[in-house]
């Protein structure tokens, strides 16, 4: 098997604070193949956005990568200096963030922002870059692109802005795009348009996507594989169909049951009592054990790593092959 496009090995991100070091990501490992869409889901504070930020080298200080490796096409990128990272960011890895208004520079026209990106990364001339910028605006479905290229971000609606951000992320033709909650700020009808656009463009260009969101519906429709995060670790990872329809980890099972569905009605939603632990109070053993309906002694003491669990891989002692573990 060839090396995946992106490989994250045992990534650990820490935030040193006056009252001790908080471990925000711990032992996170996964890979993304070329052209694949990996969904990353979890609740607030699970570490999904942080994983994206670590990959693209945009961790907010004092956050720092304290362990593990990030490899892009087999080459380590987690230990690069900022000036070495710059040609990778944008050119190799594009980014789409939640709020299109803060992603775009309000003082430059959208055309200039697109053109600048392509001039820096692809070395286009002024005229070519402008032509390409108009082309990209057309590609992402902005009407009257030749005219709108000279408009400022505030002249666009939220959905149109997010289209511009997608154009910006894809215009240097990166191999991987990290999309962090790309539709969370948008209304459902616009969300559907943006997801369809992102899906179409990345498929046409063979771009791999790491799609970070808390919306399981978006993941179910878009992703090939999905990683479920809890308290800074991956709780379960596997093909999207298996994780959604037949999850193995008790957290994923609870999470799926707690989502109300539009196309059917249940009298009562499954609820997971309690809430995710704070970073300074992560329980020993499995981080989910105080909320887990199937907890047993081993969970409280020993931390599970990802292991084969039916169709997926789950960090849960229920799937430890030793019979002794279950008896304990």
């Amino acid at each position: 098997m060839s090396a995946p496009l992106l490989e994250v090995r045992n990534l650990r991100v820490e935030f040193p604070t006056r009252r001790g070091t908080l471990t925000a990501l711990d032992d996170v490992s996964f890979g993304i193949e070329a052209g694949e869409v990996l969904g990353v889901v979890g609740e607030s504070g699970a570490g999904k956005s942080l994983t994206g930020a670590a990959i693209i080298g945009l961790l907010e200080p004092p956050g720092r990568i304290a362990g593990g490796q990030i490899l892009l096409e087999g080459r380590r990128i987690d230990n690069l200096r900022q000036d070495q990272m710059r040609p990778i960011r944008g050119r190799q890895i594009g980014a789409i963030f939640q709020d299109p208004l803060t992603t775009l520079n309000p003082l430059y026209t959208v055309g200039r922002q697109l053109a600048e990106t392509m001039q820096v990364h692809l070395g286009l001339s002024d005229a070519d870059a402008r032509k390409a910028a108009i082309g990209w605006l057309e590609t992402v479905g902005i009407p009257a692109a030749a005219h709108r290229v000279d408009a400022y971000p505030h002249e666009f609606s939220g959905g149109m802005r997010q289209r511009v951000v997608i154009a910006l992320a894809l215009c240097a033709e990166p191999k991987l795009v990290i999309a962090d909650e790309p539709t969370t700020a948008l209304d459902v009808s616009i969300q559907a348009q943006i997801i369809a656009l992102l899906k179409r463009l990345t498929r046409e260009k063979g771009t791999a996507v790491m799609l970070v969101t808390h919306d399981m519906g978006v993941i179910a429709e878009t992703a090939d594989r999905v990683a479920v995060m809890y308290a800074g670790r991956i709780a379960e990872i596997g093909p999207v169909r298996d994780v959604v329809k037949d999850p193995s980890h008790p957290y994923t099972i609870g999470l799926m049951g707690s989502i109300p569905e539009v196309h059917s009605k249940v009298e009562r939603l499954t609820q997971i009592d309690g809430s995710m632990p704070r970073l300074n109070a992560i329980p020993t053993g499995c981080a989910f054990n105080p909320r887990c309906p199937r907890v047993f002694d081993r969970c409280r003491v020993e931390r599970p790593d990802l292991m084969e669990a039916r169709a997926t891989r789950a960090a849960c002692w229920l799937y430890a092959s030793e019979a002794s573990a279950r008896a304990a």
Binding site: E43, S44, S157, G159, M160, D187, V188, S189, I190, Q191, A192, Q193, I195, A196, H214, D215, M216, G217, V218, A220, E221, T222, V240, R241, V244, K245, G254, L255, M256, G257, S258, I259, P260, E261, V262, H263, S264, K265, V266, R268, L269, T270, Q271, I272, D273, S275, M276
Partner: protein
């Protein structure tokens, strides 16, 4: 929950309520630029009624006026036209009637902004009790606050803490405890779970349904999330640009949506059941409510629009157990 028609008048009845906002530029600038005054018709003639013990949900995208309806319903905004009646009494007189005000309360979206950070939880929850003079004596009030906190799944000892010591879901529980402290019959919930994570959202929705059953509460539930709405509602109203385009029993509308906008909304929602299935998203965006399209406001995005839709505004008419404001549905073109 059964609709109990024998239970007297509906708890809340809105008749053709409108709410306009003046969004003109300041007088001098307007005069220099020779601009006319500009009005934003946030809510433009909507009617509904909510029987006791049931939930009416209003859904729609940002800017459709659903939160304005919520505020008009509890009297936080006076309507520009039309009227709201609470158990048959006009709400416009509620200012003069503390008893009416006591019986309605609002739960807001952001549990971080709606609780005073400088107050202890016990004082936050006791505020309506003190404001309406429902109980005398600190001991009685403390007991009542403890019972309310238990009712929403917190401990009486949590009353000593400050809001920042709680997570988002727990804060929303505090908001609910405060809303229940004046023993209201009618609660307006404006996106109560939008700021919460799904597993916490499930806890809050379950809690709200339990309390509704136990205390026979009446809810006006505002949300943009159709899945949440389906879970909560007896009746559903779909809003678009300040108007209700379809209203009726929730299950009927979810099973068989008639208005093209309702169909589009239901179609647009990514669903767990649809793994791998592609959808055709509807083109276009919500137009500005300051300058809404002529005729039916949805016509620029509607696949069924014809000349009549561009000119004539459709009125809500009965169709299959619901009220639908659409020429195409009425003409059988849908």
């Amino acid at each position: 929950m059964p609709l109990d028609a024998a239970d007297g008048p509906p708890v809340l009845q809105a008749d053709g309520i409108c709410r306009y906002f003046d969004v003109s530029r300041p007088w001098l600038q307007r005069t220099i630029a020779r601009e006319p005054r500009r009005t934003l018709r946030a809510v433009d003639g909507i009617s509904f009624s909510i029987p006791r013990g049931t939930t009416l949900s209003l859904v729609g995208e940002s800017g459709c006026g659903k939160s304005t309806v919520a505020r008009v319903s509890v009297g936080l905004y006076p309507p520009s036209a039309g009227d709201v009646r609470f158990e048959g009494q006009p709400l416009s007189s509620a200012r003069a009637q503390p008893e009416l005000r006591r019986r309605m309360y609002m739960i807001f979206q952001d549990p971080y902004a709606s609780l005073n950070p400088r107050w202890r939880v016990r004082d936050i929850v006791a505020e309506p009790i003190r404001a309406f003079g429902l109980l005398k004596g600190d001991k009685e009030i403390a007991e009542r606050v403890g019972a309310l906190l238990r009712q929403v799944g917190l401990a009486p000892a949590d009353g000593e803490k400050f809001p920042h010591e709680f997570s988002g879901g727990q804060r929303q529980r505090i908001s609910i405890a405060r809303a229940l402290s004046s023993e209201p019959d009618f609660l307006v919930c404006d996106e109560p779970t939008s700021a919460l994570d799904v597993s916490v959202q499930a806890q809050i929705l379950n809690l709200m349904k339990d309390l509704q059953r136990r205390l026979s509460l009446t809810f006006l539930f505002i949300s943009h999330n159709l899945a949440v709405v389906r879970h909560m509602s007896d009746q559903l109203g779909v809003m678009y640009l300040g108007r209700i385009v379809e209203i009726g029993p929730a299950e009927t509308i979810f099973r068989r949506p008639l208005h093209p906008y309702t169909r589009m909304l239901l179609e647009a929602i990514p669903d767990l059941a649809m793994t791998g299935k592609g959808r055709t998203p509807v083109a276009g965006e919500v137009p500005s409510p300051i300058d809404p399209p002529s005729g039916c406001p949805f016509h620029p995005r509607c696949p069924l629009a014809n000349d009549r839709c561009r000119v004539e505004r459709p009125d809500p008419l009965a169709a299959d157990g619901a009220l639908v404001a659409c020429h195409a549905v009425q003409e059988g073109r849908g």
